[in-house]
Symmetry: C2
Subunit: 354 residues, 2 copies
């Protein structure tokens, strides 16, 4: 049904589209699909029709898109897209508004925006709910802009809304050198919190410290429970941001202070976890978690408004900045997935269309 | 150090106490102490000096006191009183204000009040923080008044504050025929919520239904997960009030709807619990718990204010009423503890001084 393309496509000239009263857009676009569940090599460049925005949506010409761990799960066949979402992977892009419903947010055709998607970002064009678009912050490249949405929406909701992190609190960030981790460290520090991070190498720990963490624990060489308890004089931390679950939950419970909150956003260590209900009660701990992708447009638009009010000023002041590991050409998607799976990266992997 | 008394004491005439400018009070009082950790028979009537109220406290002449499961744990040596609390058990009383700091709550000497204590309720006199006293609601006997504080403070905080139960929500109450359970059913119904209860016999289930539960599950003959899922058309419940923990936690997780809250207030089934972190994330569940006894006077006084505003009108309207299993004479404390441990009671066990 869809034409599959060799990795190098001939350059095409945009064709005039009479349906558009704005920019010239193509009728077809290059995109990257999952040809079958499997390793990075199943990702395949193909051609598809440019999608049409509906009510409350804009069409974006994608300059760059971010790679996220859920993309890897989706590629392996372990994380099907939500009902109504494109089968094309890709949860975040930076691109210019081509057409659509500009809403009341003050956007204009041609504006470069960062958008959170439920899928479809691995493409030259994508449709985004207008409420899930934020202006590209001044001073950031489109590649940096594409590195923002997934981490910032996730961290804002889980650390500040769900986890209720406040100025003066201490946050424990697992995987502090990941895209999520680097964003969590910076946002927490900008909000006046103290941060302890864990990471899997001394180089990654150094990156966490550079971003503002007070302490970084190499979990290959040190027990993070001991390290946290010692560093906090046995008080523990107020919030834990966890993407491991499994055996980590019980250990994280021992890191939590009274009234501490543990927020699970991924289960890289498995879903079965042990909890000490006595400790939960005595310290009045809260254990919660969430996934972002399946939430409603209204919900995500609410996070976008909070980000624009609270976090966009921090970005424009230079207090928060995406940590860029590597920018690949879109045609290098296989290599980009390989790099994520090798786990040596620090910060975000972003792909751009030439 | 303290005189130990036979179970029948001679009647004493109150002696004049020059320190009191209000009512005549005794210098010594009868009280019930835990002579050593063990079964009900270790409870022993003895004589102690009447305690002295400090700043922010009143002295109460106890008419009746409630029995609670933590008293049993304390008697067994498994639940030491918090620092600063009396070694005498007893977490709730109804009595008249004899003297002390009446605070700004409009109390007068001679008023009958219901009080939550950190201990010391098994006595003819006790000291209570003034902020933890509430007026005996019109139409209730002192024995009924003594049955209110522990259940209402616990249910209000855990179900409504921590669990955020709202009108239209559905609550699952484990142990629906217990003191806590009967209070939780009535408060939830009064607040406009729907209730499913579990209990250990058909008679207990009938009592839950009579109190307003839509459905009661006999957990000896039926799986409560299936029953809840069927009754809610697979939606699940918004809040679970749990006093079992252990293997119940994983099953309760499967009863929770999206955004559901599980609140643990006791661990009768053990502290080690399994949690499915994937389910937690996908349904955005929250697992939390608390203990009341160790909280500050300020905290408990805040609950007392909320109870007076929200729940006291329900009691005075007859919508909430303590479910009284048995009223014993204080000298029958051993029998009262035996009855609690046998687990055949429905509602509260209360003791009164002759």
């Amino acid at each position: 049904m869809h034409r599959h393309l060799p990795w190098r496509l001939p350059q095409r000239t945009p064709t005039s589209n009479p349906a558009s009263d704005a920019l010239l857009i193509d009728r077809d676009m290059r995109t990257i699909e999952i040809s079958q569940p499997g390793g990075p090599e199943v990702l395949r460049l193909c051609e598809r029709p440019v999608p049409q925005p509906g009510a409350g949506e804009v069409l974006l010409r994608v300059r760059a898109f971010g790679l996220n761990r859920p993309d890897v799960l989706q590629r392996r066949g372990l994380y099907p897209p939500p009902v109504g979402a494109p089968d094309i992977p890709g949860l975040e892009v930076c691109g210019e508004i081509v057409s659509g419903d500009l809403g009341g947010a003050g956007f204009r055709v041609g504006d470069l925006v960062c958008a959170l998607l439920a899928g479809g970002g691995y493409a030259e064009y994508c449709v985004a709910p207008t409420g899930q678009c934020l202006p590209l912050p001044a001073g950031l490249s489109p590649e940096e802009g594409a590195a923002l949405p997934e981490t910032l929406f996730t961290v804002w909701h889980n650390v500040f809304e769900r986890g209720q992190l406040r100025a003066g609190d201490t946050l424990l960030v697992q995987g502090g050198s990941s895209g999520i981790g680097t964003a969590a460290i910076q946002l927490a520090v900008a909000a006046g919190a103290r941060v302890i991070a864990t990471a899997g190498s001394d180089a990654k720990c150094a990156a966490c410290i550079q971003l503002g963490a007070e302490m970084a624990v190499n979990y290959h060489t040190q027990d993070f429970v001991d390290a946290v308890q010692t560093h906090t004089a046995q008080r523990g931390v107020d919030v834990v941001l966890d993407m491991v679950a499994g055996s980590y939950i019980a250990r994280e419970q021992r890191c939590l202070a009274e009234d501490g909150r543990l927020v699970v956003i991924a289960v890289q260590g498995g879903v079965q976890a042990e909890v000490d209900a006595g400790l939960l009660m005595r310290k009045r701990q809260t254990l919660t978690g969430s996934t972002l992708r399946t939430r409603s447009v209204e919900f995500k638009s609410g996070i976008a408004r909070a980000l624009r009010e609270k976090v966009w000023p921090w970005i424009e002041q230079g207090r928060v900045r995406p940590v860029m590991d590597t920018i690949f050409a879109a045609e290098q998607i296989v290599q980009a997935h390989q790099r994520m799976e090798q786990g040596q990266h620090i910060g975000k992997l972003v792909l751009r269309w030439a």
